[in-house]
């Protein structure tokens, strides 16, 4: 009964999206009025929310009803809707904060969450929130209102200050370098189904904010510092932040030994692409960013839910403890397969369309160095994608639980199937996605729509492709290769002979702990730059910050000595000094 109610609650974003009438308003107090309204941009993100909420809610329904978690999830949905519908900054902030604390409390529902993770999650997110509040107040000071609309008549430095504050706030939420410390830990340790929501949606709210930024300032980022090559100079900085984030996070992801941590780093990397695209700021780039946001939401939901199913059935998260699950969990296998194809941005799935748009926009801005760096990151991403399918599903089962696992329960499978369907459908018809979802937003942002001649086609000034054709080609190739494999399999089995190298030593049996992917990524440390990146982290800096604060606390607590005479002495001394200072000064 509670479960049913909860599932209904998870449908509310969809209801809001479909049933939204005219704007709402709620007077908060003197001079502050909350207004809610649905714009095309917020409708886009609300659509993501509406799609994801029930899909994440379904896995949460399994087992005994965890009513506090249900309530918190409901609050989280409420906060996010408020955030997206906000017509003024105060509502935006309220939604932002409700989202922050309810997601934090949900994070605590996991028994694995440790103190450092919880603290880093809440502190970084509150830092982001307070930066946002500071930005809002500065905005208010300059303009005298809280509404989210173009701020006219600001001087240059005012715009830069505002863009900096807002930008930092949203970038923290997105988790770009060097503000990403909280991301891998919390995605890793959160309850399994909830990780999907964190990665797929909560981080998207930062993206929403970043996309809002250009609407706030009339000339977008171009107005701030002028132009560089064919793009805005301020955006160039942002784009580099994004690219560096994706490169570092990609390499970090490759070297992970834990499925959820790998996904967390890959999430950071993917959001790095989006940041880059927003930095470019052209209509192509924003289209790409939105498309990437859409695809990333679907893909990460799919992957995290599939992985959650594996964790549920095996209790293992480390690659080395898994293996050979393909036969035991075939649907999850296909889920992960489709997921990584989308994640890697390979055709024919829509991840390709998104990346294509971003690449083309970089080309258009003639930021070729960035383009090269991004290609590097997205190529390296293949490696971790490969690891994700290879390590759990193929090879050799390495733990007792991996040997006896069964397919995930239906609560996990239904979302997977739905998401697979959506991804394939979107891959077939990339033009449909552009027409239905991206173009209305771009038009609302006063940019040129991307347009597409038909549902199946994606076109850009630099060429395009037809999704249907591509899908047919790839589908045929897949069927052919698989068919050939199964046909030839009988003969391939005989390939091993007593003269093979493996017979030189002992033949590994099913009991031997053996993993083909073991130590993968270890060799990366030998590559000069990559090794340096992998060895370093921002953790030391933040740990030092914490240490300094503790020392300060200890020093200051010396005042609170517990000896009344010291209190009186201090009071008298302060009194005497103040007296001396003020009367002596006269």
């Amino acid at each position: 009964m509670i479960k049913l109610l909860f599932f209904t609650v998870s449908l509310t974003p969809a209801a809001t999206l479909l049933g939204w009438g005219e704007g709402l308003a709620w007077p908060l107090f003197e001079g502050v009025r909350l207004t809610l309204d649905l714009t095309p941009l917020s409708a886009f993100f609300l659509l993501l929310l509406a799609m994801a909420a029930p899909l994440v809610a379904l896995p949460m329904l399994r087992g005994t009803a965890d009513s506090p978690a249900f309530v918190l999830f409901g609050l989280l949905l409420l906060g996010m809707q408020l955030l997206l519908l906000a017509g003024d900054f105060i509502s935006l902030f309220i939604g932002w904060e409700i989202m922050t604390w309810s997601s934090y409390l949900l994070l605590l529902r996991s028994a694995r969450t440790d103190l450092e993770t919880a603290q880093s999650y809440i502190l970084f997110n509150l830092l982001s929130a307070f930066l946002l509040l500071a930005a809002i107040l500065v905005f208010y000071r300059f303009t005298g209102h809280f509404e989210i609309r173009t701020a006219a008549g600001l001087t240059d430095w005012q715009e830069i200050l505002l863009a900096l504050l807002f930008g930092l706030a949203f970038l923290t939420k997105v988790g770009t370098l060097p503000l990403h410390l909280w991301v891998p830990r919390s995605y890793d340790q959160a309850p399994d189904a909830f990780s999907a929501f964190l990665s797929a949606l909560v981080s998207k709210m930062g993206v929403y904010g970043l996309v809002l930024l250009p609407t706030l300032f009339p000339d977008a980022l171009a107005g701030l510092l002028g132009r560089l090559l064919d793009g805005p100079a301020a955006g160039y900085l942002l784009a580099w932040i994004g690219v560096v984030t994706s490169i570092v996070a990609t390499f970090k992801a490759i070297s992970q030994e834990d499925m959820k941590r790998l996904l967390a780093y890959s999430s950071i990397a993917q959001l790095g692409y989006i940041t880059t695209a927003i930095g470019v700021g052209s209509s192509l780039a924003l289209g790409g960013a939105l498309y990437q946001a859409l695809v990333h939401t679907l893909v990460k939901l799919l992957l995290f839910i599939s992985i959650a199913g594996i964790v549920l059935r095996t209790g293992q998260r480390r690659f080395n403890d898994l293996g050979r699950l393909m036969e035991r969990m075939p649907i999850s296998f296909f889920g992960v397969l489709i997921g990584i194809i989308g994640l890697a941005g390979m055709p024919p799935l829509p991840g390709f369309a998104a990346k294509y748009l971003i690449f083309v926009s970089l080309l258009d801005a003639r930021w070729l160095l960035l383009l090269a760096a991004m290609v590097l990151a997205s190529t390296a991403a293949f490696v971790y994608c490969y690891k994700l399918i290879y390590a759990p599903f193929l090879g050799h089962a390495n733990s007792a639980s991996a040997k006896t696992a069964t397919e995930a329960p239906w609560q996990y499978l239904v979302p997977q199937l739905v998401l697979m369907g959506l991804l394939v459908g979107l891959g077939l018809f990339p033009g449909l996605g552009v027409r239905l979802l991206i173009d209305p937003v771009l038009i609302a942002l006063q940019m040129d729509p991307l347009g597409s001649p038909s549902w199946g086609e994606l076109v850009t000034p630099y060429g395009g492709y037809d999704g249907v054709v591509l899908m047919v080609v790839f589908g045929t190739a897949f069927v052919l290769v698989t068919g050939l494999f199964f046909l030839l399999r009988g003969r391939m089995r005989r390939a091993g002979s007593p003269y093979d190298l493996s017979y030189a030593g002992e033949v590994p049996t099913a009991e031997t702990p053996l993993h083909y992917g073991a130590g993968m990524g270890r060799e990366l440390r030998r590559i000069p730059l990559v090794g340096w990146i992998l060895r370093h982290s921002t953790q030391g800096f933040y740990a030092a910050l914490v240490r300094q604060t503790r020392t300060a606390a200890e020093l200051l607590s010396g005042f609170y000595s517990g000896n009344p005479q010291a209190w009186v002495l201090l009071a008298v001394l302060v009194f005497a000094l103040a007296l001396q200072a003020s009367i002596g000064g006269i």
Binding site: Y560, S561, G562, N563, P564, Q565, V568, L569, V572
Partner: protein, 126 residues
């Protein structure tokens, strides 16, 4: 010979000096003594110095106490009655605080066996 003492300025100066000395003595006791009762006494001395200052400065030489009796019906040639009344009230209050303090000290001593202010370390930052 000592008539100059009767001029209000000098007299008030002496009162100020005297009460300030008392105040400082009280403050010294408060800061330097470790026994709880001595600290309470020091506080009482500080309060006393303030009362003395008040009454002293509010009275000019030659004025009598503002008590209406024996046929006196008006406040003529008398000191300002307000400070005297207020001081009386303050003394009563100070008395009450002192009594409370003394009783707490006694209870504390009975319970723990010490009356040293620096030995009160049950409550502190951990």
């Amino acid at each position: 010979m000592l008539e100059f003492l009767d001029s209000p300025r000098v007299l008030h100066g002496i009162y100020v000096l005297g009460s300030l000395t008392l105040f400082v003595i009280g403050l010294y006791g408060l800061l330097a003594k470790r026994h709880l009762l001595k600290i309470l006494i020091s506080i009482a001395v500080m309060e006393l110095s303030v009362y003395l200052l008040f009454v002293g400065l509010a009275t000019s030489p030659g004025e009598t106490a503002p008590i209406l009796s024996d046929g006196l019906r008006a406040f003529a040639g008398m000191a300002d009655p307000v400070p005297q009344a207020l001081t009386l009230t303050a003394i009563v209050i100070g008395m009450a605080v002192l009594a409370l303090g003394a009783s707490l000290t006694i209870q504390y001593h009975r319970l723990t066996g010490n009356a040293d202010v620096t030995a009160m370390t049950e409550l502190k930052d951990s």
